[in-house]
Amino acid sequence: MKVINAVLCPGCGSLCDDNEVYVEDNKIVKVKTECAISASKFLNYNKERNTKPLVRVDGQLKPTTLEDAVERVARMLVEAEYPLLYGWSLTSCEAQKKGVELAEEVGGVIDNTTTVCHGPSILGVQDFGDPTCTLGEVKARADLVIYWGCDPSSAHPRHMKRYSSLIKGKFRTPEQRKVVVVDVRKTPTARNANLFIQVKPNQDYELITALKMLLQNEEIEEQEVAGVPVEQIEELAELMRSCEFGMLFFGLGLTMSEGKDRNIDAAITLVCELNKWTKFAIMPMRGHYNVTGANQVLTWQTGYPYAVDFSRGYPRFEPGDTTAVDVLSRGYNDATLVVASDPVANLPKDAVKHLCSKPLAVIDPHMSLTAFMADVVIPSTFVGIEEEGTAYRMDGVALLMKKIVDPPEGILSDAQILDLILKRVRELKKGR
């Protein structure tokens, strides 16, 4: 039995890199980790695995050769006038780079799942900036940690113990840290917080506004705001003002409810305001393990982090129009390639309806719901288990994921498959 140390978990945006994985006969037999999602990932990744390229014939998915599948995807993309290349958050930066190159070559729109997680956060950043830090800064210094509209106990199970509220750092012990949760529900994280503030759905913006008023010593002409008594808001304002290093982690509770980018606008400007009082930083809790990487790669290659339209031969960014849900709901695209994501499970019904009404190809290690609906399915390796690759943690720290076991025979990585498609696309374009 082989023991591999310091293994990165390709689970969530925390990208914990201290897991121990035990391998016997090219199989993962045991994982030392404190995280249920991580354990499930390493031990179950091989279940419900499709190892054959599939193609839809008479309504049924039938096995085919890799060559045939690549040919079909390439043709689909070359014939399309406005293909959408969507996904990218559960794969390596190496594959994402190939994706950008392919999107540029076929004149399509490339969008990643940011569009339905922290897209609004990016729009907020583009208006106001991003006073942030790496997670180690929180570990070393934070004496106030706020989780707003996020539930790390459920979505980032080790976040608190490894990076934020429950870890000992150079200048802080866990006992010296205060934890505040603001959410519409009493989440598992909220149950252990020093202060839980239950905000009415869709009224986070009002609550942040009230906080800003109190920080500026302005009077509020209300008894309660967003369902929260003004005294309780004052209590939170005082905690924020008086801490030495405050950290605001926020999640989809802010980006998905009414206000979206404006909620983030408010949260960022709140943190800017707080820096007049003390040191304060803000960070989105990114979900998929390499969605941050997708933003980074797209940004340095195209200038824009998501929703990039190459139809005119150069990158254009018009979120609200070139974002995946808008492209699909307006019926713009005439073909879709989905890589490392499952839009059928994640996007609203009407968007999925259009997705399934046009040619659809999927590259994914899993038999996802989208693969179940696709015309062509190409199985790929699991990055971080069967394949090396770069990934970016939620705070922008890049790390190299390891290869732990060999993939099933004949299965290529996302990057390799995309490269084959790209080559074939170039040949087909030349021939036209």
């Binding site: 009002e206 506004t209 800003k212 509020i220 139809s311 307006r330 713009y332 005439d334």
Partner: protein
Amino acid sequence: MKIKVPPQTPVEGEVLTPDNLAGRSINEILNLETFRGNRRVKLSELFTVEGESASNPSDLHLILEGDLRKVRHIGARMSAGKITINGPVGTFVGFEMSGGTIVVNGDADAFVGMGMSGGVIEVNGNAGDAVGSGYWGTRCGMRGGLIVVKGNVGAEVGLWMKGGTIRVGGNADVFTGVRMQGGTIFVAGNVGAKLGAAMVDGKIVVLGTVPNILPSFYIDEIRSNTKVDGDKIQGPFYVFYGDITEGGNGKLFISVEKNQHLKYREAYLL
């Protein structure tokens, strides 16, 4: 010009401005290129053209017919002349336009008049989100001109707006006048929540209902009427100022009659 068949993929309409078309013969216009999706196509593939061109953009009246829902950026950066669109139209109508007139006899999709600095856009139907906003990151919305929407508008009307006027005949969704820095928004119908959020200057007049007022606005007075571009609008109105968190001096004029649930704020009148 009439669109032949509604396109399946988005068409770039930037070329469709009096500035671009003036001085060209019908044949030349038919041979102009644009993009349908990623394909370069001639206008003749998309449109049939009748009538005659003019040598001066300001004398040119371009009439577009048909289903233009997937045609975006029509009238982008135009400076003079007139475009009439008979039918529904796609996103970014009048993008960064500086002069002239666009009339849409149908619904317009999102981002009407993004970054416009002058001219008039009239939508005789509904309009989508972020009417009169600005390109991402510029922190500057519409700076001048007039946008009139007969029907309803989506969220974030007048986002970052700095000047000019937006008139809405129907209802406006959430965040009307968010981050507004100047200019005037008039809504004849109802508005959604977070009216005037983080505005620093400018004026918003609402004749219909307002679900609530943000805690960062203070009541100032009750006025019997107000003016929008010189037109007298009959009140009475609650007048709020804010957004206090931005040190703002924006003004909200809100119908007293339709918003009796705000009566409790009268207690704070000095």
